[in-house]
C-alpha cells in the first residue's frame, strides 16, 4: 500500500475540484459528496491501521519526493521535500480529523446559503488539516498550516452569526501573527540546518527530521546548539523556542492569547465550531509536539516552568470565564481553552505519562468538544437563542436531548468512564511525577490544575441547574413549540460521538497502543538531545 497518506489528504481536494463543476443548485449532490469523501477517508484509515505497527515509536508510511531544489551558489542548495509520515501522535490526530470531519459534514446538511462555496471550502479545509498532521517537512507543514486559515476565515465570515465580520477578521489577524512568528523561526532554521548527506556544498533542508537532530546544525550558524548567537541576555535558540511557543499558543489557544476563540466560536456556524474546537486547536498543540519541542529541547527544558504556568493559568482563568459566561456557546468555548491547558501542563512535565496524557487529551477533547458544540447547535437551530438564563427546565421538555447534554457535560468535567478522565489522570500523574524524576516542574502546578477540575464541575452543574432543571419556562419571546426533541440526524451524530467517547474512556489501551510508543520515543529522544547539547 503506497501513498496512503497522499490519498487521504487529496481525496477532499479532488472533491473540491469536482465541486467546481457541479451546479450550485444541486445541494443534495454536495451533501452526498461530503459523505462519500468521509467514507473514502474512513476506508483509508482502516488501511492505515492495517499497515502500521503501533509498537514502533518512529515514523511509518513515509512518502518522500523531491519538491524543489535550488542551487544558490556559495550559500549552498535549498532543498524542500514532499515528506509525509505518521507516528503515534500523527496517527491519533489523523483518525480524530477523519471522525470529526464526518460529523461536521453531516452537521453541515442544515447549511442552506451558498452550499457550493461552503462545501468546497470545507473540503479544502479537510485536506489542509490532515496535511498538517502528516507533513514532516517544515515548509510543507507551513503551507498546509496557512491553507487552513483562509477557508476558515471565509467559513466564519460568510456563514457566521451577526458579528461574523469582527470575529473572522480577529481570527485571521491573530493566527497570521502566529504564522509570522513561526515563519521567522522557519527561516532561521533553514539557514542553520544542513542535511547530513551534504558533501562539499551545503544542502539546506526543511526536513523536520533533520532539524530535530542537534548534529545537523551548521557550526557558527545562528541556532547552532554549541555556540548559538546571543540576543539580549538569552541565546537565539531560547528566542526561537519562545517565538514558536507564542505562535502555536495562539492557535492552542493559551491565556492570554485566547480572546479570538470565544468570538470565533460564538459567530461560527455549528459544524465550523466543531472543526475549530476539535481540530484547529489541536494543530497548535501538535506544532509544539512536532516542531518546537524536538528541535529546541534545551530551550523547552529551560522554559518548562513557564509552559506549565501558562497551562495552569489557562485551566483556571478560562474556567472562571466559563463560570461567568452567559452564552452557552461562549461557555463551551472557554471550557475548550481550559481543557487545552492540560495539554500544556502534560507537555511541560516532559515525562512519558505527561506526554501521553497530553496527546490523549488532544484526542479526547476533540471528540468531547465536538459533542458539546453540536449540543449548542441543537438549541441554536431551534430558537436562535443561546443565552443560558432564557431557558429553564428543558429536561422535561427535551428528555432525549437532556440525556446527551448530561453525557457531554459529565464527559467534559472528567467523569471516569469517558475519555477525558483518562487524559486528565495521565497529565496530572505526569505533572506530579516530574517533581521527583526530572525535576522540571513543581508539584504545585498539579494542585492548581486540580482546582480547575472543581471549577469545571461548577460551571457545568450550574448550567444544568439553570437551563435543564427546575420548572419549564422560557424567556425573551422564545416560542415553546420550537423546542422539539432531537431529530434522527441529530440523534445519530450525538449517539455515535457519545459511544466513541465511552469506548475510549473504558478501553483507553486501544489508542494508547499507538500513543505510548510515541511518548516513550519522544521523551527518550528529547532527553538524549538535551544530553548531547549539554555535553557535546
Amino acid at each position: 500500500m503506497q501513498n496512503l497518506l497522499t490519498y487521504l489528504i487529496f481525496t477532499p481536494v479532488i472533491a473540491a475540484l469536482l465541486g467546481l463543476f457541479i451546479s450550485a443548485e444541486a445541494k443534495k449532490i454536495f451533501r452526498l459528496l461530503t459523505f462519500v469523501v468521509s467514507a473514502i477517508q474512513l476506508l483509508i484509515i482502516l488501511l492505515i491501521v492495517g499497515n502500521i505497527t503501533p509498537q514502533s515509536g518512529s515514523f511509518q508510511l513515509m512518502e518522500k519526493y523531491n519538491w524543489f531544489s535550488i542551487d544558490l551558489g556559495n550559500w549552498g542548495i535549498l532543498k524542500a521535500e514532499y515528506l509525509l509520515g505518521l507516528d503515534g501522535l500523527g496517527f491519533s490526530m489523523v483518525v480524530l480529523s477523519v471522525l470529526v470531519m464526518l460529523i461536521a459534514g453531516i452537521s453541515s446538511w442544515t447549511i442552506d446559503k451558498n452550499v457550493k462555496g461552503y462545501f468546497i471550502l470545507l473540503w479544502i479545509l479537510n485536506g489542509a488539516i490532515i496535511g498538517t498532521f502528516c507533513a514532516l517537512d517544515f515548509l510543507l507543514f507551513y503551507l498546509f498550516f496557512e491553507f487552513m486559515l483562509l477557508p476558515m476565515y471565509f467559513l466564519i465570515g460568510i456563514w457566521g452569526g451577526p458579528k461574523r465580520e469582527y470575529a473572522s477578521i480577529k481570527f485571521l489577524l491573530y493566527t497570521l501573527l502566529g504564522s509570522i512568528l513561526i515563519l521567522i523561526v522557519l527561516i532561521a532554521l533553514v539557514i542553520s540546518v544542513q542535511a547530513p548527506e551534504s558533501g562539499d556544498t551545503v544542502v539546506h533542508t526543511f526536513s523536520l527530521l533533520h532539524m530535530s537532530d542537534p548534529a545537523n546544525f551548521i557550526i557558527g550558524s545562528i541556532l547552532n546548539p554549541d555556540d548559538a548567537w546571543v540576543i539580549g541576555s538569552q541565546t537565539a535558540r531560547w528566542w526561537a523556542f519562545l517565538l514558536l511557543f507564542i505562535g502555536f499558543a495562539i492557535k492552542l489557544p493559551a491565556v492570554p492569547l485566547h480572546t479570538w476563540l470565544p468570538d470565533a466560536h460564538v459567530e461560527a456556524p455549528t459544524p465550523i465550531s466543531v472543526i475549530l474546537a476539535a481540530l484547529l486547536l489541536k494543530v497548535g498543540a501538535y506544532g509544539l509536539l512536532r516542531i518546537a519541542y524536538p528541535i529546541f529541547p534545551d530551550a523547552a527544558m529551560e522554559l518548562s516552568s513557564v509552559v506549565a504556568f501558562v497551562g495552569v493559568l489557562s485551566i483556571i482563568y478560562a474556567a472562571l470565564n466559563a463560570l461567568a459566561a452567559k452564552d452557552l456557546k461562549r461557555l463551551i468555548a472557554y471550557s475548550s481553552v481550559s481543557h487545552m491547558g492540560f495539554v500544556l501542563l502534560g507537555l511541560a512535565s516532559l515525562t512519558v505519562e505527561g506526554i501521553s496524557g497530553a496527546v490523549y487529551q488532544m484526542f479526547s477533547h476533540g471528540l468531547i468538544s465536538a459533542m458539546l458544540f453540536l449540543i449548542a447547535g441543537v438549541l441554536y437551530d431551534r430558537t436562535h437563542d443561546r443565552l443560558i438564563n432564557n431557558y429553564s427546565g428543558l429536561a422535561s421538555k427535551m428528555p432525549v436531548f437532556f440525556v446527551f447534554v448530561l453525557i457531554a457535560f459529565f464527559a467534559s468535567l472528567g467523569l471516569p468512564g469517558f475519555s477525558g478522565f483518562i487524559a486528565e489522570l495521565m497529565v496530572l500523574l505526569g505533572a506530579l511525577a516530574s517533581g521527583s524524576t526530572n525535576e522540571l516542574i513543581s508539584e504545585g502546578f498539579a494542585f492548581a490544575a486540580a482546582f480547575g477540575l472543581i471549577l469545571g464541575a461548577a460551571y457545568y452543574l450550574w448550567t444544568l441547574q439553570r437551563m435543564f432543571f427546575g420548572p419549564f419556562h422560557v424567556k425573551n419571546g422564545i416560542r415553546t413549540e420550537l423546542l422539539t426533541d432531537l431529530d434522527r440526524r441529530e440523534f445519530g451524530m450525538l449517539i455515535s460521538l457519545a459511544l466513541v467517547i465511552l469506548i475510549f474512556g473504558i478501553f483507553p489501551q486501544v489508542l494508547l497502543d499507538y500513543i505510548n510508543p510515541f511518548a516513550k520515543n519522544f521523551s527518550d529522544t528529547l532527553t538524549e538531545s538535551i544530553r548531547l547539547i549539554q555535553n557535546p
Binding site: 463560570l323 459529565f410 471516569p416 500523574l429 472543581i454 432543571f469 427546575g470
Partner: protein
C-alpha cells in the same frame, strides 16, 4: 476467560448485576416504566443471594486484569475479596435490595421510574466497585461514578428547584474532596509506602482523606448531606446506610497501612469534631429526615475517629451495624412521610417532615413505630442491640489508647456523643409517635414497604454481630473483624445511655412541642458563611476574569487595532498631502514654468516684436552698463 473459578464468576456477577439492572431500566421505554419496578428488585435479589453464597463459601480472592498502561506504569482492573469486602458486599447488596423493594411501593406512581431504578442500579454498582477495587485508581473511578449517580438521585425530582440545588451542592462538595483525592492517589503512587519520603506520603494520604471528608460528609465538607434530604427517602436510606457515606470509611479501612502518624491524628480530630457537631445539630432540627442526616454525620464521625485512633476493625463493625439500623430508621421515616403526604397536602399543612406537625402516630402506624423504636434504640446504643456492641468496640479502642491525655479526651468525647445520641433519638420518637394526634386518616404502608423495614429492624439485634448480647464474641465479629469490647467500656457506655435516657424522659416528656436553638439548627451558620465567603469569592473572581477578558485583553487588542488604523490614516494623510503634495508642487512648478515660457510664443506678431524689443533693451542694458 476459560479457567475462571466459580467464585470468580460469582464475584463478577455480584459486581455487574446492579449494572445490568441499571442498563435494563434505562432501556425500558417510559410507557412501560412499571416493568423496571419488577426487573430491578429481582436482579438485586439475585445479586443478594449470590453475595450470600459468596460470603459463606468463598476464600479470599484476587482477580487482576490489565486495564491500560501509561508509559511504564501499568493500571490494573483488579478486584479483591477479603474479609472486609466480603462483609461489605453482603451489606451493600442486602440494603440495596431492601431499598429497591421498598421503592416499588414508595415511588410507585413516579413518572420517571425507569431513570430512578437505573440510577439506583448504577449507584449500587459503584458502591460494589469501591468495595471490591484493590487499586486506588479503580476505586476513584467508582467513587466518581457514585458521585454522578447520587447527583441524579438527589436531584431526581429536578423540577423542584430545591432538589436541583441540593444535587448540585452534593456533587460540588464531593468534587472538592475528589480533586484532592485524585492528586493524593497519584502522590501515593509516585511515593509508595516504604519510600523514604514521609512528607509526600503524609501529603498524599491527607489528600486522599480530603476525598473521604467530602464523601463521608465530615467537617468541613459536611453541609451537602442535610440538603441531600431533598432526594426520595429510599435514596436517603441507601445513601446513608450502606453506600456513599460508608464508602469514605471503607476506603480508610482499605488504605490503613498507608496512614502515617500525622495523618492519623488529623483523621481522629476531624472524626471526633464531626461526631460532636452532628450530634448537637441533630438535637436542634425539626425536619425528621434532617435529624437522621445529622445523626449519620455524627455516627460517621465516630467511625472516622475509630480509624484515627487505630481501631479500623471497630470502625468496620460500626459501619456494618449502622448500615442496618440507619436504613431501618430512614425507611420508617419514609413510611411516615408516605402515609401522611396525601393527607397533609389536602389540609395545606406546611410540611409532613416537620416534627412540629406530627404526633401520636404510634397507634396508626404500629409497624413503623416498632421498627423506628428498635432501630432508634440500636442507634442510641441500648444493650441487646447491635449498635451497643459496635459503639462499645470504638469506646474500648479509645479507652485502650496508650497516651493518657488522648485516652481521656477521646473516651470523654465519645461518651458525650453517645449521650447526645440518646437524647435526639428520644426526642424524635417522642414527638413523632407520642403526644397529640394531629392526623385523622392515616394508613400503614403497603407490604412491599413494611417487609424491608422489618428486616432492617430484625438486623438491628445483637445476634448479627455476636452471640453474647453485651460482649463482642463469637461467630461474626471475630471472624470478620478484630473488634473487641472491654467490660469497663461497656459499663461506661451503659451508664451513659441510662443517664441520657432518664434525662430525655425528664426533659422531653413534658414538653408540649419540640424546641430548638436557631444557631445550632443552622449548624453554627457555617454553611451560609461558606456561601457568603467562598461562594461569593468565586463568583467575584469569575466576573473579574470576564472583565479582564473583555476590558484588558480585548481592550488592549482593540487599542492596538485602533492605533494601527489611526497611524494608517496618518500615513495616508502624509501620503496625500506631503508626499503627493511635494510631487504635485513640483509638477505645478514645472507647469507654471512651462506656461510662462509658452506664453512667449503666443503666435501673435505684436508679441514677438514686443519681446524682441524688450530683449534688445535688456541686452543693451547689460552691455552698456
Amino acid at each position: 476467560m476459560a479457567n475462571l473459578s466459580t467464585s470468580e464468576i460469582l464475584l463478577g456477577l455480584v459486581l455487574t448485576l446492579p449494572l445490568i439492572s441499571a442498563i435494563v431500566s434505562f432501556l425500558i421505554p417510559a410507557r412501560y416504566g412499571w416493568v423496571s419496578s419488577l426487573t430491578a428488585p429481582v436482579l438485586l435479589l439475585v445479586c443478594t443471594i449470590l453475595s450470600f453464597i459468596l460470603f459463606f463459601t468463598s476464600e479470599a480472592l484476587h482477580v487482576t486484569a490489565s486495564w491500560f498502561s501509561i508509559g511504564t506504569t501499568e493500571i490494573n482492573f483488579s478486584l479483591l475479596l477479603d474479609a472486609a469486602s466480603r462483609l461489605m458486599i453482603l451489606v451493600v447488596s442486602t440494603v440495596s435490595f431492601l431499598v429497591h423493594l421498598y421503592s416499588t411501593g414508595y415511588m410507585g406512581y413516579d413518572t420517571k421510574i425507569t431513570r430512578y431504578f437505573g440510577m439506583l442500579g448504577l449507584f449500587t454498582f459503584s458502591m460494589m466497585g469501591i468495595v471490591l477495587a484493590s487499586q486506588l485508581i479503580l476505586t476513584f473511578v467508582f467513587w466518581e461514578l457514585m458521585g454522578f449517580s447520587s447527583y441524579m438521585l438527589i436531584g431526581h425530582w429536578m423540577e423542584k428547584p430545591a432538589a436541583a440545588k441540593a444535587a448540585q451542592k452534593a456533587f460540588l462538595f464531593n468534587r472538592i474532596g475528589d480533586a484532592f483525592m485524585l492528586i493524593g492517589i497519584l502522590i501515593t503512587w509516585i511515593h509508595p509506602a516504604g519510600s523514604p519520603d514521609t512528607f509526600w506520603q503524609t501529603t498524599g494520604v491527607l489528600c486522599i482523606f480530603a476525598g473521604v471528608v467530602g464523601k463521608s460528609a465530615q467537617l468541613p465538607l459536611s453541609f451537602w448531606l442535610p440538603d441531600a434530604m431533598e432526594g426520595p427517602t429510599p435514596v436517603s436510606a441507601l445513601l446513608h446506610a450502606a453506600t456513599m457515606v460508608a464508602a469514605g470509611v471503607f476506603l480508610l479501612i482499605r488504605i490503613n497501612p498507608l496512614l502515617t502518624d500525622t495523618a492519623l491524628t488529623v483523621i481522629a480530630i476531624t472524626g471526633i469534631s464531626t461526631a460532636l457537631f452532628g450530634a448537637v445539630s441533630a438535637l436542634n432540627q425539626f425536619d425528621i429526615k434532617k435529624i437522621l442526616a445529622y445523626s449519620t454525620l455524627s455516627q460517621l464521625g465516630l467511625m472516622i475517629t475509630a480509624i484515627g485512633i487505630g481501631a479500623k476493625d471497630a470502625a468496620l463493625l460500626h459501619l456494618f451495624t449502622h448500615a442496618f439500623f440507619k436504613a431501618g430508621l430512614f425507611l420508617a421515616a419514609g413510611s411516615v412521610i408516605h402515609a401522611l403526604s396525601h393527607q397533609l397536602n389536602d389540609q395545606k399543612k406546611s410540611d409532613v417532615q416537620d416534627i412540629r406537625n406530627l404526633g401520636g402516630l404510634r397507634k396508626k402506624l404500629p409497624v413503623t413505630f416498632i421498627v423506628f423504636c428498635i432501630a432508634g434504640a440500636s442507634l442510641a446504643g441500648l444493650p441487646m442491640l447491635s449498635g451497643f456492641l459496635s459503639k462499645d468496640s470504638i469506646l474500648t479502642a479509645a479507652w485502650n489508647l496508650s497516651i493518657p491525655s488522648a485516652q481521656f479526651i477521646f473516651t470523654g468525647l465519645i461518651l458525650i456523643v453517645s449521650f447526645v445520641t440518646v437524647l435526639y433519638t428520644f426526642r424524635l420518637i417522642r414527638f413523632v409517635f407520642f403526644g397529640n394526634e394531629s392526623q385523622t386518616t392515616v394508613h400503614e404502608s403497603p407490604w412491599v414497604m413494611r417487609i424491608p423495614m422489618i428486616v432492617c429492624a430484625v438486623a438491628s439485634g445483637w445476634f448479627i454481630v455476636s452471640v453474647n448480647p453485651i460482649h463482642v464474641s463469637g461467630w461474626f465479629a471475630n471472624s470478620f473483624t478484630g473488634a473487641e469490647t472491654s467490660l469497663i467500656a461497656s459499663g461506661l457506655s451503659a451508664v451513659t445511655v441510662l443517664v441520657a435516657f432518664i434525662a430525655g424522659v425528664l426533659f422531653y416528656w413534658r414538653q408540649p412541642s419540640p424546641q430548638s436553638n436557631s444557631i445550632l439548627q443552622n449548624s453554627f451558620g457555617i454553611d451560609s458563611f461558606y456561601q457568603r465567603t467562598i461562594g461569593l469569592a468565586i463568583v467575584r473572581l469569575a466576573s473579574a476574569a470576564e472583565a479582564t477578558d473583555k476590558r484588558v485583553l480585548d481592550g488592549f487588542l482593540h487599542f492596538i487595532a485602533y492605533t494601527q488604523v489611526s497611524v494608517a490614516h496618518g500615513i495616508a494623510w502624509f501620503d496625500r498631502y506631503i508626499v503627493d503634495g511635494i510631487v504635485d508642487t513640483g509638477a505645478r512648478l514645472v507647469k507654471s514654468a512651462g506656461s510662462l515660457t509658452r506664453s512667449f510664443q503666443g503666435g501673435r506678431i505684436q508679441l514677438y516684436i514686443f519681446w524682441a524689443v524688450a530683449g534688445l533693451i535688456i541686452f543693451l542694458f547689460f552691455v552698456l552698463i
